[in-house]
Amino acid sequence: MDNNKNHGLLGVKKNRAILVSPDEEFKVLLSSIWPEDVLEFTFYSEAKGAVEDLFNNPPDLLVVDNRLQDVSASDLARLVKSENVYRQLPVIVCMDEADFDNPWDWNKIEVDDFILRPFIKSVVRDRVNLTLCRALRALDANPLSKLPGNTSIIQRIQTLIDRQQDFALAYCDLDYFKSFNDKYGFSRGDEVLMLSARIIVNTVKSFAGEQTFVGHVGGDDFVVITSPEIIEEVCKRIIFSFDSIVPNFYDMEDRKRKSIVSTDRQGNIQTFPLMAISIAVVFNINGKLKHFGEVSAIAMGLKKKAKENPKSSYVLDRRTN
C-alpha cells in the first residue's frame, strides 16, 4: 500500500502530533499511516516529559492513551484544555472497551474525540484526520488571547439574565494603551494585551470553586463574569498584578521616568503616564436586568467614571446595591 497517497490529508500543510502512550504497537501503527511531511509524531511513553514539550512547543494534535500509568488520560487532557493558551489544541483519547463500563462526562473531560481498541487502521486514520480538520475551522475565540469573543460573551450574559441568576460583570480596559502602542509599535502592544489577558484569567481562576467567565471583546477591552460576592476582591487583585508587572514592558528610561514622552502630528511634546487598568462593574441582582444591551450600556457609563482616575481603579455600579 502506498502511504503517500493513502493518508487522506492531501493539501494539508505539515502538522505535528504528540502521542503519549506506553503501547509500542500503537506507535508503529500511527507512524505507518502518514508520511512525516504530512503528520509527524513525537512519542512519549509517559506524561512526564511530554507535558513540558507540550507546554513549550504545542503540537497540532495530542493523542493520549488511557493506559498511561503516571497520569490519567483525562487529567492530562484537563491540564491542556483548562489553559486558554493551549485550549485550541485538539485531543484524542485512546480507550479499551472496559474503560466504557461507566459513561464518561465529556463536559468535564473536554477532549475532541476518542479511538477504541482493537485499533482498525483505517478508522484510526480517519478519526485523526477528522479531528485535525475540525480544529482548523474557525472558533469564536480572539486570535490573540484565545479567549472567547463577543458571540460567546453575549450568549453568556443573556443566559444568566434569562435564568435570573445573580452575577457581576466587570468590564476592563487599559488607560494610555494607545500611546504605548503608538510609541513602541503594535507587536509590543500585543504583548501588553496578552499580559492583561493572563492576569485577568489567572486572578479570576484563583478563587477556588467559583463559576467564572473571561472574554475578550477586542483590542484592550476584556469582560469578567463572576459572582457578586468576590468581584471587588477580583478587581483589587487584577489591579495589583497589572500595576506591578506592566512597568517591565517599557524601555528602561521610560520605566524610570514613569511616563512616555512623544511628539504629536502638530509637533507638540506630550507626556503620558504608564498604562493603568480601569474596571467598571455592573451587577445583576434579583433579576433586575432584562437584556444584555443594558449591561453594556451601564458598563460604558461607568467606564468614563473609572477613567477619570489616571491610576488603575475600579467603579462599582451602586445603583443596584
Binding site: 506524561a47 512526564k48 516529559g49 511530554a50 507535558v51 513540558e52 507546554f55 513549550n56 504545542p58 503516571d70 497520569v71 491540564l79 483548562s82 489553559e83 493558551v85 490573540l144 500585543d190 504583548e191 501588553v192 496578552m194 499580559l195 493572563r198 492576569i199 484569567v201 489567572n202 486572578t203 481562576k205 484563583s206 477556588a208 470553586g209 498584578s241 506591578s244 508587572i245 517591565n248 514592558f249
Partner: protein, 279 residues
C-alpha cells in the same frame, strides 16, 4: 532536537536540557501549596525561589513565545501570576528529583541560594530598584554546572578530578575538560529559553561583568554576590577557592569596599537563618 543541544569539544558529547532535576524537599513543598486552594502565589513563589532548576523552568515557560511576551518577565512572583497554578502543576509533573546529582554536586544548591541572597543585598546597597530581579540572576548563575553534572556525568567527574589534582578553580577546569565554562552553557540556555536580557547577561558574564553589553550592573551584582558567598564558605561552587574578584565590578556598581560591610552583616544573619532549612 538538534537546535536544543550544545556540543562539547571533548568526545563530541552533547548537552541537552530535557530533564533537569530538582530538590525533593522543595518539590514536595510546592506540590502541597499548589494543591491547597487557600495558598497564595506569594507563598508558592517563595518556595520556588529556593530552587534554581524550578525557578529556571518557571522563567523559561513564562518567557516562551507561546505566552506572547518573551523576555519580559524577570521575577518568580510575576511569572506565577501569569502562568497560573495549573501550569505550575504541569511543571511539577515534568520535573525529576535531585538525588544522585546531589552527591555529585553537593553544596551547589546552597551556593546558588546564597548567591541569590547576596545579589539581592548588594543590589539594595547599590540603590537599585527591584532587588528581586537581581536575586533571580544570582540564583541561576551556576545553572550550567547542573546541566553538565546531569547530562555528562563522566566529563563532570573529570572536571572534579582536575580541580582536585591541579588545584585550579572549577571554571578553569571546565574549560580544560569541556572546552568551555558553565558561563557559556548559561548563555546558551538563557537564549534557548528566552530569559529576560538582564538575567541572561548576568548568567553569561558573572565572571566578567565588564564584558556584558547592556546589563553590566546585573552581571556585576552577581559577580560580587558569587565572591561574597564563597568568602562566607556557604555551600560549594565546585572548588574550595574564592572566585577571582574583579575590581571593575565595584566600579560598575559605584560601590566602595566599605559599602559591602553592612551587606556582609546582613548576609551572615541570613545564612544562619537558612542553614536551618537545609537537610
Amino acid at each position: 532536537m538538534s537546535d536544543q543541544d550544545l556540543k562539547t569539544s571533548v568526545k563530541g558529547q552533547i548537552l541537552s536540557t530535557s530533564d533537569l532535576p530538582t530538590l525533593p524537599t522543595v518539590l514536595d513543598e510546592v506540590t502541597k501549596l499548589v494543591d491547597d486552594p487557600n495558598s497564595s502565589t506569594e507563598q508558592v513563589a517563595k518556595v520556588i525561589s529556593q530552587d534554581q532548576v524550578l525557578s529556571a523552568k518557571v522563567l523559561k515557560m513564562v518567557n516562551s513565545p507561546i505566552y506572547g511576551f518573551p523576555g519580559r518577565i524577570t521575577t518568580i512572583q510575576h511569572a506565577l501570576v501569569l502562568l497560573g497554578l495549573n501550569v505550575i502543576r504541569g511543571i511539577i509533573i515534568s520535573t525529576s528529583v535531585f538525588d544522585m546529582i546531589q552527591k555529585a554536586m553537593s553544596g551547589l544548591w546552597e551556593h546558588s541560594l546564597g548567591c541569590a541572597l547576596a545579589s539581592g543585598a548588594i543590589a539594595k546597597a547599590a540603590g537599585f530598584d527591584d532587588p528581586e530581579e537581581f536575586t533571580v540572576a544570582g540564583l541561576l548563575h551556576d545553572l550550567g554546572k547542573v546541566v553538565t553534572a546531569v547530562q555528562l556525568p563522566e566529563l563532570n567527574e573529570a572536571v572534579r578530578m582536575t580541580v582536585k589534582e591541579k588545584n585550579v578553580c572549577y571554571y578553569d577546569a571546565e574549560r580544560m575538560i569541556l572546552g568551555f565554562g558553565h558561563d557559556r552553557i548559561n548563555s546558551w540556555l538563557a537564549r534557548h529559553w528566552h530569559l529576560p536580557p538582564n538575567v541572561r547577561e548576568a548568567m553569561t558574564y558573572h565572571h566578567h561583568p565588564d564584558r556584558a553589553q547592556f546589563y553590566q550592573q546585573t552581571a556585576a551584582v552577581v559577580h560580587v554576590g558569587d565572591f561574597l558567598v564563597r568568602l562566607f564558605e556557604y555551600g560549594n561552587g565546585g572548588d574550595d577557592q574564592i572566585s577571582y574578584f574583579k575590581p571593575a565590578a565595584m566600579k560598575i556598581l559605584k560601590l566602595k569596599m566599605k559599602d559591602l560591610e553592612p551587606v556582609m552583616d546582613e548576609l551572615s544573619d541570613q545564612f544562619m537563618e537558612i542553614s536551618d532549612l537545609t537537610f
